[in-house]
Symmetry: C2
Subunit: 358 residues, 2 copies
Amino acid sequence: MNTLVVELGARSYPIHVGDGLLERSDLIAPTLPGKDVLIVTNETVGPLYLDRLRKGLTEQRVETLVLPDGEAFKTLTTFSQVVDALLEHRFSRDCALIALGGGVIGDIAGFAAASYQRGVAFVQVPTTLLAQVDSSVGGKTGVNHALGKNMIGAFHQPGAVVADTATLATLADRELSAGLAEVIKYGLICDQTFFGWLEQNIERLLARDSTALTYAVNRSCEIKAQIVSADEHETGHRVLLNLGHTFGHAIENALGYGEWLHGEAVGAGLSIAARLSTRHQWMSDEDTQRVDHLLVHAGLPTTLPGDVSPSRLLDLMKLDKKVVGGAVRLILLKGIGQAFITADFDHELVLDILEHQT
Amino acid sequence: MNTLVVELGARSYPIHVGDGLLERSDLIAPTLPGKDVLIVTNETVGPLYLDRLRKGLTEQRVETLVLPDGEAFKTLTTFSQVVDALLEHRFSRDCALIALGGGVIGDIAGFAAASYQRGVAFVQVPTTLLAQVDSSVGGKTGVNHALGKNMIGAFHQPGAVVADTATLATLADRELSAGLAEVIKYGLICDQTFFGWLEQNIERLLARDSTALTYAVNRSCEIKAQIVSADEHETGHRVLLNLGHTFGHAIENALGYGEWLHGEAVGAGLSIAARLSTRHQWMSDEDTQRVDHLLVHAGLPTTLPGDVSPSRLLDLMKLDKKVVGGAVRLILLKGIGQAFITADFDHELVLDILEHQT
């Protein structure tokens, strides 16, 4: 087991990464303020792992809530069901929520923890690669709105993140690839060496080599923890973590949530960001080819879904949370490992790339 | 105009109290991060004051949302309507909400500001006595749930509070009395001198004497600002501000939200807290009589509504946010101006008092 710390003063918390951590209730129990615990999971993950997680929590009063699986359920309605459960069990302010599942479960349960009685404790137990390397770390919680992704939410840090890499064994291939999109993103943002390692080890990752997966999760969490520690509420540098996401969110929204996985949309978004960077002559064509090559190798799309119009995507991008004073800002690349934010890009070029990327 | 500051480091903000402040857009404009502003108000307040508030905001793009009036609408559904409006106007993270109205409007708009894109700016323009002396100050936002009051919400501080005491002229008598419950509460918690002043000046306040009202609002805000500055997230001393509220929330819930005004329920709650304190011999009977006398004089109930059963109230009290480890904690009195919190009270005595207070 490896343990990192997200340094946030009084809100600092550990990220534990390792094989077989689901049963390590000693990693969770010290973060619980009281006896009452609600485990929130979904219909896919619950049958596989709920019992193993529950087993260790013998000192607590543990209740469970099993939600339907999928991004389509990341709504205010589902959030409301979590609050209903907390109130029906008469949980008080010293209760805690445990999110057992992927990014959707973590985001919903985290927002419920942020909002229930104006804030209670929670623990992230991510079971997908995407959740382990990205969504469980950093305190972003929330739900989608018909008009935009993650539009309703809160910054609410967990008390701990417990990432059991053994759970990745049961992950669908498509989910594994989706998680790799976020892993590749970290290399692109700030770590050329890690990007090179991913190019060398993509086959091992796809074959679920435990050592390779653990290394990738650890390195991703290290990068994310460092960025979040320096900028908890995304007033500066943290915005770089959104590389590929402005395009990705627009794709998800245009297709309807759940059609493409979030990571798949981010994969296509990374490709678009790379191409736009090259068209602006900020990054070499060779680097963009490396990006596309790795994405394809990882089983990710680099082209847009055929039934989405470029002008609709551009329109949806204006709903992005990075818009300031009406101006869309994009995270682009000056090279592999060198992301930056700019509002000074050519909208015609974006449209041109979108039109030719189907 | 008098200006106080709630000292909260980087989140410090001013409370402006005075006659005719609605048109003082210079008090609001500096706190707005961008051009986009949504004023949230209700059907009662909007027709009276919306134009006067809007008039000064000439540099902004101002949109408005008029909600139905009343505690019954302080729900997740109404919150969702505010978010809908923000998204329909395509407001980005640099927008701001202005809450123009009473406590319900402030709580809903504040929670929407806390949650929209994980947090945007907001300004409180309270138009009821209750909102001016209590709910607009301190950053508590949220909505009710069928199973409990303010169960879903966030701590989210405003950028400024602008309390125009001239708006109290149009307040219904019942609303004025409801606000006085919170004013009386401050005297009871920690300021015997202020309580004495209220006994002397209650007639002037009911007659809406501008000088008396301004003094009462100022003194109340001073006390609240001081307590909130020392304990923003209610981990300690701030809990005393809930004097009368455990009983009050249970009454509101039992009757159905909107039947009694929040301040009326708090009035009855203050009376119950005083009686229980006297029965425990923590406070003199004379002090309890002074409390009841002032409440009655202020037009507030000191007895329970007839159709609510004491056992149901006790049951509802267990849903209170101050419950820790299953134990109900009450704010009680060691004298006028000396509130304290305790879990060490006699439940049979509570039941007895509730049974004889109808």
